[in-house]
Point group: C2
Chain length 429, copies 2
């Protein structure tokens, strides 16, 4: 962990190492993934079955790739009743929040002779990638499937690798609760390729969302254009802005909730109160020892943990806007007062009783957020990711007469004669 | 041109060649572009000046890269008054349409103890790429800059190559009218790199939009993630659905307005009336001979022009939805009756007096549309491309008490102990 003062001469240089962490997919990964994609396009199910055998140590035929209703029933039987209630609450709250993001088809009638509008149409089919193995996250299923469902997507196809054939009951239950239509036990670049191009068994989708390892991320990048994708996620981060108010124990726990995710995660506190910062540093050390995931959290905190002392809140806010953090906590007494000044952040957690973890699971907003400074231009995953729009244009003859000569003028100065004629022929006849 | 019947056995096979046209950026182009990007990152303005000398035959120093107010004044003096009026009308109408796309920051108060919302923030800086040389399109400036301006973008930076030092007056005038803040006379992959990473002279932006050649498109793809980009545009296409009503002369002109764009453009008519199709075919031949861009239009029409006879409108609509055309004309008597059935299209032009050209210039909707079937998942360029969103989450202590135990449950089943502790510490104290 670094303890820095924002006014030190070399502050920025010291902080840059944090910003520039994260793995780049090299050319070798790209070559491997390109090979897998072209193989799945060529040989379809046969290739899928082979890769699943090789990478997931799972032997099955094409029909066996799909998870059956009996398996779902078994999963429901395995899940504790209180866990089921918690997952249901999450689905319900996430759905309620995302309902508010829905946009309507509209048509303007302010000009009677030229009607203009925008048609909103749900995607027909989407694919959701869910990581398998160690990192099993039902919340990831909920956060991807529920917005798609709310958007009105026709069919939601989920893929999840099941290494050694092991399925995760919570993940399957979350899929059912969220409205997933079909689940295939495939993963990696081969699953992305199957969703992008379709095989005899796996339907071709219009968009693929969801997190994955470097092979999955590279495959998504490579099929982009053939299908839509959500943003490419990098390692996760939290930034806490503090004015000296609140409880250092709470803030330390929040920093660690980020650090425990993965060794490349970054947890940063910027406070106007040096002694608050020192207390948090001590608390982190104390709490670290009690964590089951101590090794990961400690590695992350040592490498990419930072406590920064700022001269005032304005400095802290300006710093945060420059960083564009994925998760931003405003751990201050009057969070609503400074919220309007935040220009770059994936999600803004306000006040002393809104830990980042609340947003990870069931507050309602999506937990798929732009990382690595991309909150400058990316937004949280939303219902908007699961619809597309079509412009609507309707001219009466009178409408075309009213503006037609100006259309012809611009067409002419652009040297596009046929464009002009398509208007003038209509005005002449 | 092919004249097909949708019910022929080999219809799909014959049509596939149309769908699969378009150039893929090969590895060689990618290597060249990667080299340029890394050079501009390393040497900044120096590299920009060198590439501009080499590719645009233009000699200037760093300060000379920016277009001056004197040059803008000269451009305004050169533009015909009626052309200026037409461009102003286009800016005004495009702005009015895009105003309707603006989304508001919202905050839900239906739960007093948990407030949730979504903050909408304009991007700070965007870069707009405008092709120079032969293809000079002031409409392209308007369609990219106006939505950015309406969105409230802080600074709009335009780049436009000026081969041999030649600037285009209409393009500069359109930039001023649309609210562009600064214009640099640079182009190609080097311009994209400068906008993505910034140089001493060219500011780093948050997103780059606008059309360009294969080097520009490849550069945009490669800097994606460092900055946002709009969709990658492929060759343009029009599909006309016809029920036998309307005027074959008009439809022929519409097909040619697409064909004259570029040799890879595709123009398709699907009609329920074979004789209407035959008349359009004859009209296209007649009009082709009179076009200044006959050679391009003829090449496009011969290679990628198709007239299809369908058994009924339902068949035509299903075909169109499968193709997901960039421009779709509903040249039928009751366009509003079938519009709801259209699920995939960039823009829908309705009725007999709405030629595609109307939407290219000044109807109001954006002319930057998803091509090559990507209307399955992409939308027209919009105000939404120039803002980003942040989730807002605020819990009172009571709110956290109400749902806290469910957060802890899910954190526990995901094995993320620190997540749970960040909640339980707050509930205990």
């Amino acid at each position: 962990m670094q303890f820095l003062d924002i006014r030190e001469a070399d502050f920025q240089a010291k902080f840059d190492a944090i910003v520039e962490r994260g793995e780049e997919s090299g050319r070798e990964v790209e070559e491997v993934v390109l090979g897998i994609i072209s193989d799945v396009r060529k040989r379809g199910d046969e290739a899928l079955i082979e890769y699943t055998r090789r990478f997931d140590r799972l032997e099955c035929d094409a029909a066996g790739l799909e998870i059956t209703e009996a398996e779902f029933a078994k999963a429901f039987a395995q899940v504790d009743e209180k866990d089921l209630a918690a997952l249901k609450l999450a689905v319900e709250r996430v759905a309620r929040y995302h309902e508010k993001q829905k946009q309507q088809t509209w048509l303007s009638t302010e000009e009677a002779d030229i009607m203009l509008g925008q048609k909103v149409t749900p995607l027909a089919k989407v694919g959701i990638y869910v990581p398998g193995g160690k990192a099993c996250y039902p919340s990831s299923v909920i956060m991807n499937a529920v917005p798609a469902k709310v958007a009105g997507v026709g069919e939601i196809i989920m893929v999840v690798p099941t290494p050694g054939g092991e399925t995760n009951a919570h993940v399957l239950v979350a899929a059912k609760l969220s409205g997933v239509d079909r689940v295939f036990r495939i993963g990696g670049a081969q699953a992305v390729a199957a969703l992008a191009y379709g095989t005899a068994t796996v339907p071709r989708v219009d968009k693929i969302t969801g997190p994955g390892n470097i092979y999955v991320a590279t495959a998504k990048k490579l099929v982009f254009g053939q299908v839509g994708i959500d943003m490419i996620a990098g390692p996760s981060e939290i930034l806490v802005i503090n004015d000296g108010s609140g409880n250092p124990t709470h803030i330390a726990a929040d920093l660690l909730s980020q650090a425990e995710h993965d060794e490349l995660a970054s947890s940063v506190l910027i406070t106007t109160d040096r002694s608050f910062g020192e207390k948090v540093a001590a608390e982190v050390e104390r709490q670290l020892k009690e964590l089951s995931r101590e090794a990961i959290a400690r590695k992350s905190w040592e490498s990419f943990g930072v406590i920064i002392v700022a001269g005032n809140l304005e400095e802290a806010i300006a710093f945060s806007n420059r960083i564009a953090p994925e998760h931003l906590e405003l751990a201050v007494d009057n969070p609503f007062e400074i919220m309007p000044l935040i220009t770059n952040a994936g999600a803004i957690f306000m006040g002393h009783y809104t830990p980042e973890a609340s947003g990870d699971y069931l507050a309602g907003p999506n937990h798929t957020l732009p990382t690595g400074g991309t909150a400058r231009f990316f937004s949280p995953l939303s219902v908007d990711d699961f619809v597309k729009k079509s412009s609507l244009i309707y001219f009466t003859k009178g409408g075309l007469q009213r503006v037609g000569k100006d259309i012809v003028r611009i067409a002419t100065l652009e040297g596009l004669e046929a464009h002009g004629k398509s208007v003038s022929f209509r005005l002449d006849s």
